[in-house]
């Protein structure tokens, strides 16, 4: 993607956004929960049981199945999530947070960032929320297509 020249203040704002997020995550020790694993834990905490499957998580994160499966394996090894074979279809595994997974989410690094946003005066916070929403919806490079989209064909379009 060719980027148009940008003002140094907007570059500075982008740097602050990056620093804010990067600073929230602890040092990348191999034992630390990685950003993708945090995304999966958040998904598991929120999605209804029927949707807590690899074939739903991967497209949600716009990833192929392989990295998500690896992350799920790691979460399983750390006792943060478990996989249970579906009673009616043995090909389906339902993934569930363990009590340790629920506990880990209380320390989710994103909460620190959310708390800083929440601390803003109301009007400033509303303005920020509208701005970040517009930024997120602005022109971006097209995400790569997911290669393992599954699920019911009926409501997929």
């Amino acid at each position: 993607m060719t980027l148009a020249p940008v003002d140094k203040t907007t570059v500075a704002a982008a740097i602050l956004m990056e620093r804010l997020i990067r600073g929230a995550y602890p040092a990348r020790h191999s034992s630390a929960i990685q950003p993708l694993q945090w995304s999966i834990l958040r998904y598991l905490a929120r999605a209804p049981e029927d949707q807590r499957q690899l074939r739903r998580i991967a497209p949600f994160l716009n990833l192929t199945a392989a990295p998500v499966a690896r992350a799920l394996k790691t979460l399983g090894q750390r006792g943060l999530a478990t996989q249970r074979i579906n009673d009616t279809d043995s090909r389906i595994r339902t993934i569930t947070l363990t009590p340790s997974g629920v506990e880990a989410l209380r320390e989710d690094p994103i909460i620190c960032v959310a708390a800083r946003i929440e601390a803003l005066p109301l009007t400033e916070r509303d303005r920020f929320i509208k701005s970040i929403r517009s930024i997120a919806l602005g022109p971006m490079p097209e995400p790569e297509r997911v290669d393992d989209a599954g699920g019911d064909p009926d409501t997929s379009r």
């Binding site: 995304s39 998904y43 999605a47 209804p48 029927d50 949707q51 739903r56 497209p59 949600f60 994160l61 716009n62 929320i129 970040i132 929403r133 997120a136 919806l137 971006m140 097209e142 995400p143 997911v146 699920g151 019911d152 064909p153 009926d154 409501t155 997929s156 379009r157």
Partner: protein, 127 residues
């Protein structure tokens, strides 16, 4: 005593999915007014506002439902809005869900979904 049916406004641009959702919801006893685009939804809302719930597809043709969501928050105030999405070329689903949250949606449903998932989301949103 006759129970009043839940009134639902559906905004979905895909006719096949719209038909299916209407079928699911009507089968559950709801009354559904379907609209295929934001303009039609606005027209409906200018005529009636007695909806208990709104279900909106995040991407309606070439536009997102964000502007419509902002209007719904003013016109329908506390009426819950459920966003449905199967992803789109502009944003991934994780981002779409975050934008739906920022826009006041009470629930986000990832396509494809089953009837039970839709009805669960509707029931939870109406609580």
């Amino acid at each position: 005593m006759t129970q009043v049916a839940t009134q639902i406004l559906l905004v979905e641009d895909d006719p096949a999915i719209s038909k299916l959702i209407v079928q699911f919801l009507k089968g559950d006893g709801a009354e559904v007014i379907a609209s295929s685009n934001p303009e039609r939804a606005r027209q409906i809302l200018s005529e009636r506002t007695d909806f208990d719930l709104v279900i909106v597809d995040f991407l309606l043709g070439e536009v997102t439902a964000v502007a419509l969501m902002d209007e719904l928050r003013i016109i329908l105030r506390d009426v819950p809005v459920v966003i449905i999405s199967g992803g789109n070329p502009m944003t991934d689903l994780e981002t779409t869900q975050a934008i739906a949250d920022l826009s006041g949606a009470v629930a986000f449903l990832q396509k494809p979904f089953r009837k039970a998932e839709l009805l669960d989301a509707v029931a939870t949103s109406l609580k």
